[in-house]
Symmetry: C2
């Protein structure tokens, strides 16, 4: 085994920072080609982020939607995987330094470090309103959501009970809508007979957004369909609402204070700071403004892809921060590196938009597949089908299908585990904001 | 729903402390009977502990072997479940106090708080050699085992690499044997193609025990069969060995120091201190010496069961700390409370020993079913069958069967997730020893 590695060390070296959809697609493009590749990620797993909300609401286990990166790439003998956190990049000497004081030389570099949730300058809100990007985030949110019902069950006053049963989701993009819908199902169906002192159906679920409508990345017609479906599930929607304050007791907005034990942040993203750290020009969300071939201006050997870049297509519209876009960029950056390595010129990236979908709950979703737009049961089935197809390579596709079928007919959610000790008092994350990207 | 609760409050109140095999069996015995029951547990889930080593070695997900206690008991309308940690018991006023300053009155009390691993006065070893009792323990051990291979892959010296690839299991009872076997399989099969710089098969797995043979609770013939099977898997066995020291670099024993990044503690248990706290007489392992009817001497209304008690049968042999014993005791304590409540006298407990088994690895196990003793493939199939049968009530029985079948044919282990950030340096648990029981 070591012999094969020595051979690859004489080849041009490519470093990929990040093992999400973008980085992994780039790695797959370079697998078995005449380059040595090192993929560096902070975690040991690739995460199927579109289903993260299912982990946060106890529908799926972490292992159902995550797989070790080195396992996915185990047959690509020219690729090494390193678990490490990038501390800095020296574009002069072409080195990536990690926080454990190791340095990795590159001839070509692909930055695919993703984004974290952004609190728009209110980083102190993170303790009270965690976001949903990593498995740790999801397990923490699951703990908070389930603990809230436990706290309500033993509450000493109606006031305390109502605050425990009030769930506020800030941000009504797909993640926020999915979270609100899944919490509503948990309260109205799954937990129905579990408690003795509370009626879980009395849970209040608020969905807030600063925009004038929910799911603003979708056409208005689908937005409206989403509103109808969410209201059926009892979710209260407040649009055009700007959050003023979040603390350990609840949320302030529109001159109102809502006592709410559990607050979920799904309002905005900020690109990994690694883009700015190399001196690249970035937009307001910290995203690198890349060239047409996905290279970083001034650095033909350096590419940036996925959620951490701002790429505008021919019409001037920014490519959305979704997994199909990241995967297309990953493959494209990989191809461009192979071209450069052969002394050829790189090609421009063109995004192929396959459409978008958001699920709202049981039998409820919206889908915009370009050639057709629809909501309801059929959109939900389409959502299920597409997500199961894209779990390809995940051992757990069959398991996930099995669990979903089971949950569908029984309303049960199998991963209702509270890790760490349950604390009945209102809780806050101990650690400060971590904005170093995925 | 609240109406039904009010009715139960006028009934005699039974408190059960602990939702393990013992506590849950007691609760099921009392379900629907003329008593009001409150079950208090530190966690929200009942854990199928015999499979915990599978979570620690990435074969199963936490949710596969754990289920919310209140979900299991949801149809028992006379039972309430409270997540809380017991701070103390006042046997005078018949109250259980929890750490969140709540007090619960009881007419009858069942203590089923289990045991934690014991370090025989060396509690400082826990940081370096965690044990395996809770889901948190298992997820932490999984993180350590998987991180060790990652650390070996990026090690700077042969010495560091070898220490990272050395796994020491202290204690060769069933848990220790299962852990050693599962780590061996992980190294020799599952991770085989995942790394580039190390050969995971070079991992060294040491199994230490102070006794003269492994699996001392089994007959000698089966012990020997276990040794043969473990040796085939490359596990080094050292019996008659007393550990002198465990620190952040490794383990000292028999005048030897073995550099070992990962140490697992499976050497001993100590009963939850709640037994001693009520002034009951206890043995060296902190286990309450209960009466023949499982009541605590001097307290006819107070029963103690499961791993936290020492109960000697007719022959003077102590009932072993295994789940079938805890379940039998739980049902018996429940029945005795119903007898007392009707003004009748309690009955003596008799343990029915169905035999015992330990699994060692793929196709490898030993079984002592009283009428027959055997090792190898047939013992392993028996082990599988019995464990799947006893996962009854767990939604995941089918899922677990599916995952095992899959793993059997592919050697894959699906839950290879490292939570929290990976730290390449040698790690230690930040928190001190927690001996407050399950």
């Amino acid at each position: 085994m070591e012999a094969s590695l020595v051979r690859t060390q004489s080849l041009p070296q490519v470093i990929i920072v990040g093992g999400g959809f973008g980085g992994l697609s780039a790695a797959k493009e370079l697998a078995g080609k005449g380059v040595g590749v090192t993929l560096i990620d902070k975690t040991n797993h690739h995460l199927f982020q579109p289903l993260l909300y299912q982990v946060a609401t106890a529908g799926l286990s972490p292992a159902d939607i995550a797989q070790p990166i080195r396992h996915i790439l185990k047959n690509a003998r020219n690729i090494e995987v390193v678990i490490g956190e990038v501390a800095g990049i020296d574009t002069q000497s072409q080195q990536v330094r990690t926080t454990d004081n190791r340095a990795y030389h590159y001839d070509y570099l692909i930055l695919a470090a993703g984004a974290r949730h952004s609190y728009f300058g209110h980083e102190e809100w993170e303790r009270f309103a965690p976001g949903l990007k990593s498995l740790e985030d999801a397990v923490e949110l699951r703990r908070r959501v389930l603990s809230a019902f436990e706290a309500a069950e033993i509450a000493d006053s109606d006031e305390e009970r109502q605050a425990a049963l009030t769930f506020t989701v800030v941000g009504a993009g797909p993640t926020g809508v999915e979270m609100a819908g899944a919490i509503a199902e948990l309260a109205q169906r799954t937990l129905l007979c579990d408690f003795r002192r509370i009626d879980s159906r009395r849970a209040r679920i608020l969905l807030l957004d600063g925009a004038s409508r929910i799911l603003p990345s979708f056409v208005e017609e689908l937005s409206r369909a989403g509103v109808v479906q969410l209201r059926k599930m009892g979710v209260e929607i407040r649009t055009g609402t700007v959050v003023k304050e979040i603390n350990d007791r609840g949320v302030s907005f529109d001159g109102e204070f809502i006592a709410s034990r559990t607050v979920v942040w799904a309002a905005g993203n900020h690109a990994a700071p690694i883009g700015r750290s190399i001196g690249a020009e970035t937009d307001r969300a910290g995203r690198v403004l890349v060239n047409k071939d996905l290279s970083v201006p001034g650095h033909p050997e350096l590419f940036a892809i996925g959620d951490m870049v701002c790429f505008k297509d021919e019409t001037g519209k920014a490519v959305p921060g979704v997994s199909p876009a990241a995967m297309q960029m990953g493959r494209h950056a990989g191809k461009n590196i192979l071209l450069l390595n052969r002394g050829e010129v790189t090609k421009e990236f063109h995004y192929f938009d396959k459409g978008s979908m958001a699920t709202i709950g049981r039998n409820k979703a919206i889908a915009d597949l370009k050639f057709a737009r629809f909501g309801g049961l059929f959109a939900w089935l389409t959502w299920l089908f597409v997500h199961l197809i894209f779990l390809v390579g995940f051992r757990d596709r069959l398991l996930v299908l099995f669990q979903w079928t089971w949950s569908y007919f029984t309303f049960s959610r199998g991963s209702r585990l509270i890790y760490g000790s349950f604390r009945p008092e209102k809780e806050a994350l101990p650690k400060a904001s971590d904005l170093t990207g995925r």
